[in-house]
């Protein structure tokens, strides 16, 4: 019983269950069933969203917010579609990741040293980046290197996006256990305790913002391969979708906990919704309503369980205080 409750309470497991249900519906109603290329197409679309959402997840674990993902994605996509054609592909990708890292670093510096609300700073970054993307490429167009496309979207034995997703999971499991990974959770849980134990909070926050920026740029690279052209407004959908993926993935928005694995399931769920609703015969506009309601429900479930946990902790703290008072009383009596 306890096991069932704990499993259902685990955000990643909940997200995986939702995904399984949607996948089953999709598979049931898809004419001719699901084949390799359909699945690969779905995974190719999910990969950029999952990557970007993992970046936002990291920031949320530190009890901050980041709205700039959509901007970084748009800018990297437009740059890749229009510039550096003659340069080595790997070098371009590295350059994009450096750019993303610098943007994340800027966010972090503003938030940490300016002591500014992250939500306002990253909102400003978001529209600045969208503006830059729009200046670089006013109408959708440009082209993406075929090498990159086949590298990201190819499917030899196993779909390439699946390989990359598994790689991301492995990296996450390693990162969680590094010093930065542990401190990242600690900052979100109890910043004051971490500060008192002599850890530099600003360094951790800035590092996490930077890492998130790199992930957004990587998402931009993946997205470029997926849509095979440039579009300055492509990022817009990602503002809502990243947070949707995180909410469904079970990461609490109060910080201190969360999982990239849950977020990946969340991202897969978000991209499977339109496909599932389409084969069932539900129109585009209902999809938006469906997604919106699902996000609210997911956040609601997370918030309610967080509130319950808090009252439970408070009750326990109250008990402990009582015991302590009792002990002190006894001591006083002894003297």
């Amino acid at each position: 019983m306890e096991l069932i409750r704990r499993t259902a309470g685990n955000g990643s497991v909940r997200a995986a269950l939702i995904l399984l249900v949607f996948l089953a519906i999709w598979a049931r109603f898809q004419v001719g069933g699901l084949n390799g290329s359909i699945i690969n197409g779905w995974l190719v679309l999910s990969l950029p969203l999952a990557t970007a959402s993992i970046g936002v997840t990291l920031v949320i674990i530190t009890r901050q917010f980041d709205l700039s993902a959509a901007g970084v994605i748009a800018l990297t996509n437009v740059i890749m579609a229009t510039s550096f054609k003659e340069m080595n592909l790997w070098l371009v990708v590295v350059l994009m990741l450096v750019l993303g890292g610098l943007i994340g670093l800027t966010n972090g510096l503003f938030v940490v040293f300016g002591k500014l609300p992250a939500i306002a700073v990253t909102l400003a970054t978001l529209i600045i980046l969208e503006g830059l993307a729009l200046i670089l490429l006013i109408r959708p167009g440009g082209s993406i290197s075929p090498d990159l496309i086949s590298m990201v979207t190819g499917s030899s034995v196993v779909p390439r996006p699946l390989v990359i997703l598994v790689l991301l999971v492995v990296l996450w499991l390693i990162f969680k256990r590094t010093k930065l990974g542990i401190f990242m959770f600690a900052v979100g849980q109890d910043e004051e305790a971490l500060r008192l134990s002599g850890v530099s909070i600003p360094k951790i926050r800035i590092a996490v913002f930077t890492l998130a920026g790199i992930l957004y740029a990587l998402a931009g690279v993946f997205l470029s391969a997926a849509i095979q052209s440039g579009d300055a407004t492509i990022g817009e959908a990602y503002l809502l979708q990243t947070f949707a993926a995180i909410a469904i993935g079970g990461t609490a928005f109060i910080g201190g906990s969360g999982s990239a694995i849950g977020t990946i399931f969340g991202a897969l769920t978000i991209t499977v919704i339109p496909k599932m609703l389409f084969v069932v015969g539900i129109s585009d506009w209902s999809q938006r309503i469906f997604t919106g309601v699902l996000i609210i429900l997911a956040v609601l479930v997370g918030a309610v369980s967080a509130m319950r946990q808090r009252t439970r902790l408070q009750a326990r703290a109250g008990e402990m205080e009582q015991t302590e008072a009792h002990l002190i009383e006894q001591e006083g009596g002894g003297r």
Partner: protein, 337 residues
């Protein structure tokens, strides 16, 4: 801060007076600088265009400002604008409702959105921007559903006359009167009403508000209702301005409203800020945009400008500007206490 409150000061020296004056003076200066880019710039036509656009920003900034005062952010505003404009336009042109009925229906719908937003955010302590973002998506979906397979429905003539700037009273466009009306109404609600004061208290010190027996849940929900209602009204105005109810009607007005609140000096979640400065900031921002448009810069420049303005405003209005010195001030005080 407490010294400011206790000592009686000349009202002309309070930031609530100086800031708006400085902001409007800046706007006038920008307008004259605009002459460098465009020959016909400091003109009555330009001023009318600026005030008309400021009206829309001001209406939205009022609601957004109340939300930001208590530490939230309302990203459902474009969705509310779209749904409100769609209801009015569809109601009058397709369902043949009287205009007044359509307007009331749109405002009621906005209130419902605000109630849902506010309830979810206040009751379950969920970050406001996530709920409002999701709500925006839902509303856009509803908007597409309502106008399904139709052209964007046209605005009723009355609304066009009132808000496009064509209709005039004593030779002055209606929007200018509405602009002053919004300024006065906003001042009375935010600065003078009991609800306004409760919102300030909730923003500056939620704990105090709770202990002193304020109905904090109700106040917080009401703040989101006010924001949604303001966006609903803004949607009707923008419908009149643009002539038909496109679903993207509100998209480009979210950022100016947020920027106006921040430039006006409201600090998110601090209970610090003055409506009159936000109101003046709408004029400054609109002036900058009108001048930029006159220079013929590419579309993206506007976005970049809003972003930079927001960042600069954030840095200038930072509540604790002595951050270098005050690293561990709060915990130390707690220890001493």
């Amino acid at each position: 801060m407490s010294a400011d409150v206790v000592t009686k000061r000349n009202p002309l020296q309070s930031p609530g007076f100086i800031r708006p004056v400085v902001l409007v003076a800046l706007a006038v200066a920008v307008l004259f600088v605009g002459r460098i880019f465009s020959e016909g710039l400091p003109s009555w036509i330009a001023v009318q265009a600026i005030v008309t656009q400021s009206l829309f920003v001001a209406v939205l900034a009022f609601g957004q400002g109340m939300v930001m005062l208590i530490g939230g952010l309302d990203l459902s505003i474009p969705g509310v604008i779209a749904i409100s404009a769609t209801i009015v336009a569809l109601g009058t042109s397709v369902w043949e409702w009287p205009t007044l009925v359509a307007v009331i229906a749109a405002l009621l719908a906005s209130i419902v959105v605000g109630l849902v937003n506010g309830f979810l955010i206040a009751r379950f302590q969920i970050p406001a921007f996530i709920i409002t973002l999701a709500m925006g998506g839902i509303l856009t979906g509803l908007g597409i559903g309502l106008t399904f397979a139709r052209k964007a429905p046209a605005a009723p003539q009355v609304v066009v006359d009132l808000f496009s700037g064509i209709g005039k009273l004593f030779g002055v466009g209606f929007p200018i009167f509405f602009f002053l009306l919004v300024g006065a109404a906003g001042y009375l609600i935010q600065m003078k009403s009991v609800f306004g004061r409760q919102a300030y208290l909730l923003g500056s010190s939620p704990g105090t508000a709770r202990i002193s027996g304020q109905p904090i849940l109700r106040v917080e929900i009401l703040v989101y209702v006010v924001s949604a209602l303001a966006a609903g009204i803004g949607g009707i105005m923008l419908l009149g301005f643009s002539g038909n109810a496109q679903l993207s009607l509100g998209d480009e007005w979210l950022m100016p409203a947020i920027a106006a609140v921040l430039v006006g000096g409201t600090v998110i979640g601090s209970g610090m800020g003055f409506w009159q400065s936000t109101f003046a900031a709408t004029v400054l921002l609109t002036t900058i945009i009108v001048v930029i448009q006159a220079t013929g810069f590419p579309e993206g420049v506007k976005n970049i400008l809003y972003g930079v303005i927001i960042l600069v405003a954030l840095l200038l209005t930072r509540p604790d500007r002595r951050w270098r010195l005050g690293k561990s001030r709060v915990p130390q005080q707690a220890l001493e206490g």
